[in-house]
Symmetry: C2
Subunit: 215 residues, 2 copies
Amino acid sequence: MLLLSKPLELPVNQDKILQSLVTENLVSDPESARGRLLREAARLFREKGYERTTVRDLAAAVGIQSGSLFHHFRTKEEILKAVMVETIRLNTALMQAAMSSADSNREKLRALVSAELESINGQTGEAMAVLVFEWRSLSEASRAEVLKLRDIYEALWLDVLTGLKQEGALVADPFIVRRMLTGALSWTVTWYRPDRGGLTQDGLTDQVVAMLGLS
Amino acid sequence: MLLLSKPLELPVNQDKILQSLVTENLVSDPESARGRLLREAARLFREKGYERTTVRDLAAAVGIQSGSLFHHFRTKEEILKAVMVETIRLNTALMQAAMSSADSNREKLRALVSAELESINGQTGEAMAVLVFEWRSLSEASRAEVLKLRDIYEALWLDVLTGLKQEGALVADPFIVRRMLTGALSWTVTWYRPDRGGLTQDGLTDQVVAMLGLS
DNA sequence: GTTTACAAACCAAGCGCTTGCTTGGTATGG
DNA sequence: CCATACCAAGCAAGCGCTTGGTTTGTAAAC
């Protein structure tokens, strides 16, 4: 779907997770018309912002007429919502998978940080940026829907952070730490470029863990 | 100017700094027509976003006709730029003042965190949120202008963080830490409510410093 | 194995409305 | 008297979305 510009480069387990979500109809097939549209939408929404992206832009990006968009989606906003909802669904699943292979809370946190950096700076990056910067363009109703999904995602983090607090490994409040991490990690979309420049994604994960005194 | 909804409640030194900037013509007088317009613009841009705020909205907020706006600003984008530029100017000055009364780098960092939280969640909060979320709506030229001002601001942080690194108080890279802090602190605009709820701004500052292992 | 049926996917055209901004003129204060 | 600040009216362009009709894929009916 929208999230994958080079699906073939995905690790096997990630691809498996995606495919199972596709068969459950929770995310669109990246190769379907809907999936391609959502991917282009994520790209354009990130590049120019939701409001500055016209339905004509979206249509041109997938090679159809602007009116034909409304055969797939009833409104422009529904496209934005779909980008967000499917992104959260996929990343929640990926994050659960990343955590499941870790034993200690320290390892789990590292897995979470790493997975979130991957979601923000990897294949789903454009959609994640849309999630961060364009949520105000959602209607009240859509926003509630998206927030509900996000709560599931957030619960994963809070479990681990609360555990670390009880172990004494964490000094600050888990809720505060999570919110700070949300901001810090989201913000990497504005400056971190994994391709050019020395810092790898693993290196960045190290830095984050070090900053929290958990390395 | 735009930043102060209740100027009379400001600490004396902050008010002095503002006034000196006003006389230097670096920021608009909050009580001038231009100043009131910029304050309302910041409020509306934050509330609905730049694109969704019309010139008619802006005009109505200060009680004039939409066309009359263009007597004060040549374009709508110029209003956005003015909000950003004046906000950075004021906050840079406030931050320099906050730092000057601190001796050690530890104290200076605390002053910086506290000052940035104040700028984000205090009187200049609406304008700061605009700075975070609406920079994509600037033209290329305006963006360069804003970024140039922001560099001065950022240099303050990097000086202190580099000092802490040399002292061995900081494990991670100063540049990375600053960028993470930018994200973490900016993000507080989305969740932190200093008025209702137990956490004070000082308490939040404590949490941030604790998170970095610098308390 | 051709025909029929029909829904899904799309096009061409454009409607009605909102947008940023312009214009020509009028108050008002120093 | 003249600049500053405003109003009333509206223009041209661009917007999301609708409409009526055409193509395409698929699968049952004969």
